[in-house]
Symmetry: C2
Subunit: 70 residues, 2 copies
DNA sequence: ACATTATGTTATATAAACCGAACATTTAAT
DNA sequence: ATTAAATGTTCGGTTTATATAACATAATGT
């Protein structure tokens, strides 16, 4: 299962979902979906997000094995 | 532009595209497309690839700004 | 020479990411 | 209390990731 710290880091930098979306060229809905964990963004977007949030992809996104991984 | 070291690391570990595909649950064609840089995999797949290739996502995939970034 | 295995490549199909717009709810400011 | 900004959420659409299958070629082994 994919987890992430986008919401936490976005808050830390005082960015709105719209702000962050503009920085990485996606809509605020896309940011919202990612924060909710509703889908797995492309690595390109993940890299852009990490850059905007001044971290790296490994710290932003990770896989957690809880119970069911195929 | 998205770059990666999948082909290089796969060779280093003596894995075929099929082998790697099986390890991360995609087809060999998907691995081939990624190696050719023809698309940007999901972060979930990128994380699995990094794990299989004993590295981290940052070292496996990166963005290179050559001329045109939108 | 023949068989097998790995890779390159292309075509069609499906699933998932992402957009744009809309409307509702929450939060913050005045 | 009212307004505005931020977020939640949903819907119908387009684009892209990924699957499956097929065929071709190169490399390897016998």
């Amino acid at each position: 299962m994919l987890k992430n710290r986008v919401k936490e880091l976005r808050a830390r930098y005082g960015l709105t979902q719209s702000d962050l979306g503009k920085q990485v060229d996606v809509t605020r809905q896309t940011i919202a979906f990612i924060e909710k964990g509703e889908f797995s963004p492309s690595i390109t977007l993940a890299l852009k997000l990490a850059k905007s949030l001044q971290t790296n992809v490994n710290e932003l996104f990770w896989l957690e094995e809880d119970g069911n991984e195929k």
